[in-house]
């Protein structure tokens, strides 16, 4: 299993091409983080990852599918905020076989 994230952090898992792009399978990022800010946070760390990987990937929070709201879109009070200790995963489609 992934190591427990340090205090004030969440784990993010990078599958398939997300792993190749970041050269990591997992890392800890500071929490809390509104889900709508996830892509821009990652783009800051890995320039180009949004267009190459994130925009067509599926995102899960604590093993369940999550819709990432448009960063510029209207705020919604029920919006997901990633909390300390959460597990987020970036899952790009794989199409080979």
């Amino acid at each position: 299993m992934a190591p427990k994230p340090p205090q004030g952090h969440f784990n993010i898992l990078y599958f398939a091409s997300a792993g190749s792009y970041t050269s990591k399978n997992v890392e800890a990022l500071p929490a809390p983080l509104p889900l709508r800010k996830l892509f821009s946070t990652l783009e800051e760390r890995y320039q180009g990852i949004r267009a190459s990987v994130l925009e067509h990937s599926m995102v899960t929070v604590n093993l369940a599918y999550a819709d990432v709201p448009d960063e510029e879109g209207p705020e919604d009070k029920d919006e997901i905020v990633i909390q300390e200790g959460d597990e987020v995963a970036i899952i790009p489609p794989v199409s080979s076989g």
């Binding site: 299993m1 992934a2 190591p3 898992l13 599958f15 398939a16 091409s17 190749s20 792009y21 970041t22 050269s23 990591k24 399978n25 997992v26 800051e44 760390r45 890995y46 320039q47 180009g48 267009a51 190459s52 990987v53 925009e55 067509h56 599926m58 899960t60 093993l63 369940a64 599918y65 819709d67 995963a89 899952i91 790009p92 489609p93 794989v94 199409s95 080979s96 076989g97």
Partner: protein, 467 residues
């Protein structure tokens, strides 16, 4: 190709549409069938009824490769009555480490013929229907409409979207798997099928509900380029067969009545299916191997294929709309470099032989595994992923663009030549190096070797071990 009917009459229409298939009591099992299927029939929940449902079912396996071979073995072994297999390729030596339904003696044979040969040896009872062709928007409806359940064992995004769209339009459940290098994915889609456009309720998603947009072609690598471990793709294919058998034996693909009665039968709840991810990576922080089950959402209201107001139709697909090839090869930043920033493999070689090339740096951006099989003399290896990562780090944190070059390249101002496997990554590398200012405002030459090591093998050194 004649359909092999053997002794069994082919059910008219789809089995799912006949009451016999639903309650599984169309006939008695033969002695051979009892003998052959006894070990699975005595499993709780399966029974004679489940077996008869399998015998009355028609399954289409699209792709007779790394997923399709193991999947087909268990589909045939379990006694699915009719097994259709679609694949236009022929068996190659490099397939055999994972495509276990083929054989060294059948290299060069159409994959569907080879696989059916293998399956007949395993179980002669089912009818096997070969389709030695690629699935296309033109032939897809005719083929897929003949079956009760579809298995996507293909290897490219365009076909994946086509299959999913056809399953939505024709109301077929889809068991989809994919695998690359050391990981795989599996998901059951469109099960039970619900009419296109229904969104007020809890309905199963299609492939597009999960993956709205294909990734840019630059990030899509094939097993031929990225590699694939046999047991990983094998595991996914076997799991795929497991899901198909479970669905058909329990008639999970037939909507319960009344339709709204969702929660009374939790085992039917494939409306929020699970995406299974298998990773098998010694270096992974999530363990040397792991399975993760991720709960997906249901049908997306705005899904292009199955959502509200969808304009997708069978006629449209047949006529070329949407254009799957175009959708999956969207314009990207992979612009072709102008001629003066490129050199052919032959010209590079000739110049070097004639001693016209002064001191220069030759960067090879292939993965280190590819590089280890051979390289052009003097090349230094910086895998493309590292180039991108280092470039991003330099742009973010500042620092010298020179840091991207390996130490072996030294602190020289010599011209840089970039070579990769087939000539795409090398162009992007040239652009990145220029963005980082390594061309010194145009004073320093940075060019790519057009066509990469493939061109090198073709035009310069036929003995080069290109893989």
């Amino acid at each position: 190709m004649e359909e092999d009917t053997r002794d069994r009459p082919i059910p008219s229409g789809t089995a799912a549409s006949t009451p016999a298939a639903q309650n599984g009591c169309s006939r008695q099992l033969t002695d051979d069938e009892v003998d052959r299927y006894s070990r699975q029939m005595i499993v709780p929940g399966m029974g004679k009824e489940g077996q008869l449902r399998l015998i009355n079912s028609r399954v289409l396996i699209i792709g007779a490769g790394g997923l399709g071979c193991p999947a087909a073995q268990y589909i045939a072994g379990a006694g699915i009555g009719t097994v259709g297999i679609v694949d236009g390729d022929v068996v190659e030596t490099s397939n055999l480490h994972r495509q276990v339904g083929h054989a060294t003696s059948r290299i060069g044979m159409k994959k569907v013929e080879s696989l059916i040969t293998h399956l007949r040896g395993l179980n002669p009872l089912p009818s096997y229907i070969p389709y030695p062709t690629h699935l296309t928007p033109q032939n897809a409806a005719e083929i897929i409409s003949q079956y009760d359940l579809i298995m996507d064992c293909t290897d490219n995004p365009a076909t994946r979207y086509l299959i999913s769209d056809m399953c939505v339009l024709l109301g077929k459940p889809l068991v989809s798997a994919a695998s690359i290098q050391k990981s795989g994915q599996l998901i059951v889609l469109n099960c039970p099928p619900t009419p296109q456009g229904l969104v007020d309720g809890n309905y199963a998603p299609c492939y597009r509900c999960c993956f709205r947009k294909p990734p840019p072609p630059s990030s899509m690598v094939s097993c031929g380029e990225a590699g694939i471990m046999g047991p990983v793709v094998g595991m996914m294919g076997v799991a795929q067969a497991g899901e198909a058998i479970k669905i058909l034996a329990s008639a999970l693909h037939i909507p319960p009545r009344p339709l709204a009665d969702d929660d009374a039968t939790p085992e039917r709840n494939l409306r929020q299916p699970t995406l299974l991810i298998y990773t098998y990576d010694l270096e992974s922080a999530v363990g040397p191997y792991s399975f993760r089950a991720l709960r997906m959402g249901g049908r997306r209201r705005n899904c292009f294929a199955c959502g509200e107001g969808s304009t997708l139709t069978l006629e449209g697909v047949q006529a070329g709309s949407p254009n799957y090839e175009q959708f999956c090869s969207m314009p990207t930043s992979r612009a072709s470099l102008p001629q003066e920033e490129r050199i052919t493999a032959a010209a590079y070689h000739a110049a070097k032989e004639r001693g016209e090339l002064s001191e220069h740096i030759l960067l090879d951006t292939r993965e280190k595994e590819h590089f280890s099989f051979g390289s052009i003399e003097g090349a230094v290896n910086v895998p493309f992923g590292k180039v991108l990562m280092k470039a991003a780090a330099i742009m973010r944190d500042g620092g010298s663009g020179r840091d991207i070059l390996p130490v072996e390249a030294g602190d020289r101002d010599a011209p840089i030549f970039v070579v990769c496997r087939t000539g795409l990554d090398s162009q992007e590398t040239v652009e990145k190096l220029k963005e980082l200012g390594l061309d010194d405002g145009g004073k320093r030459k940075i060019v790519d070797i057009a066509g990469g090591m493939r061109a090198w093998k073709q035009d310069v050194d036929p003995s080069f071990p290109f893989i």
